[in-house]
């Protein structure tokens, strides 16, 4: 397994640790070098959006990253795992037509597929988790993904919208939020720029809801900004560790320490001790509007790179 130092060395200066977001976990998290790619929102602004603000160099830079990862994959084989954390496709603007997205970005889709990327869904491509009779899961998407070390699940990977109060399907407000999301999606179908017009209004609604997720910890010794989803994810990891979920894993198989997400567009890496364990939350940032971040985990070592 490549270490993060090896990974940076092979990138020959093209990858840098983002801010100070690098730390060592208290136990092994992965047995592979695991690269996490956050939100891309392909086609959110039409066929020439180049990851939203119309800059072809962003697509070129992303293709450069994929070329680098493909070389690593060809050298290291299955020792490298790539996970896309959802909202890779923006189905709202593509009018639920995935073909339009593939047609606009064939090399991105082709390279990610060639590297056997694990795809997790986000709230903008959630409808790609579909199971059809006789065909199974058609788009190769998952709701969430896990990685193991020392025989136990140690990390959980999902988009992050699950923590968003307005989209949390475990609650009534979440169910209402989903319907609101659908209505907004339909409005975008009728008038594609409606999300731009309603942007600040919609953001303010989400902010009002999301305050219920805020967790006020003791003063963070690392000086990182508080993450509004920290409470949700520590709670989720604790529920898994105690076997209190509807998933098929028993508590003897699970010793989760890390949650890896996207969704917020703001990269952060946090550490939080609770009930005798240490939990970590990695928010991998985005590849939209100038964001160029990825998350990386190798053994105990984890970082966000730019």
């Amino acid at each position: 397994m490549l270490t993060l130092d090896d990974f940076m060395r092979k990138a020959e200066g093209k990858l840098k640790v983002y801010k100070t977001f690098r730390l060592q976990a208290d136990k092994e998290i992965t047995e592979k070098l695991t690269i996490c790619i956050p939100d891309m929102h392909l086609l959110e602004r039409g066929p020439n959006d180049d990851f939203l603000d119309g800059k072809p160099e962003y697509e070129e830079r992303f293709l450069g990253l994929l070329d680098f990862l493909l070389n690593l994959r060809q050298e290291g084989g299955d020792g490298l795992e790539i996970i896309q954390l959802g909202d890779m496709f923006d189905l709202w603007q593509a009018k639920w037509n995935t073909n339009m997205i593939v047609s606009a970005y064939p090399s991105i889709i082709g390279l990610l597929d060639k590297m056997k990327t694990i795809y997790v869904v986000g709230n903008h491509d959630i409808d790609l988790v579909q199971w059809y009779k006789d065909k199974g899961e058609t788009f190769g998407r998952r709701w969430r993904y896990y990685s193991k070390a020392e025989g136990k699940l140690r990390a959980i990977y999902e988009h992050g919208f699950q923590a968003d109060f307005a989209n949390n399907q475990d609650s009534l407000s979440g169910a209402i939020g989903r319907e609101v999301t659908r209505i907004v999606g339909m409005m975008e179908y009728i008038y594609p720029d409606i999300d731009v017009i309603l942007g600040s209004t919609w953001d303010s609604v989400v902010r009002a809801f999301s305050k219920y997720n805020v967790f006020t910890p003791v003063r963070d010794p690392q000086g990182f900004n508080l993450h509004e989803y920290l409470k949700f994810y520590i709670g989720l990891l604790e529920r898994y560790n105690s076997g209190d979920t509807l998933d098929h894993f028993g508590p003897e198989e699970v010793d989760l320490s890390l949650a890896v997400i996207g969704h917020t567009y703001t990269a952060r890496l946090m550490k939080m001790p609770k009930n005798g364990k240490v939990y970590y939350l990695m928010d991998c940032g985005s590849w939209v509007n100038g964001g160029h971040e990825i998350g990386a985990i190798s053994g105990r070592d984890m970082a966000i790179f730019h």
């Binding site: 293709l63 070329d67 493909l70 593939v102 064939p106 090399s107 889709i109 082709g110 390279l111 060639k114």
Partner: protein, 67 residues
């Protein structure tokens, strides 16, 4: 895919008005009216400037002649 393959599947083109000025469709254009065509597309791996890239290619077409 060659034009012969397309014309075998779709038959002779229809006579249709020349398109409005703007897109250069009057040259080498064949028009079919009242047909629905399904294009089957696949990704093809190519090498461009030493790098692996992908293009979409048409691998098959199907013509529905009746609505």
């Amino acid at each position: 895919m060659s034009w012969n393959q397309v014309s075998q599947a779709m038959g002779p083109p229809d006579i249709a008005p020349i398109p409005e000025p703007g897109p250069d469709l009057s040259k080498n254009t064949r028009v079919y009216k009242d047909k629905i065509v399904i294009f089957y597309i696949e990704m093809k791996e190519v090498i461009e400037e030493g790098k692996i890239r992908f293009h979409e290619v048409v691998t098959n077409i199907e013509v529905c002649k009746k609505k």
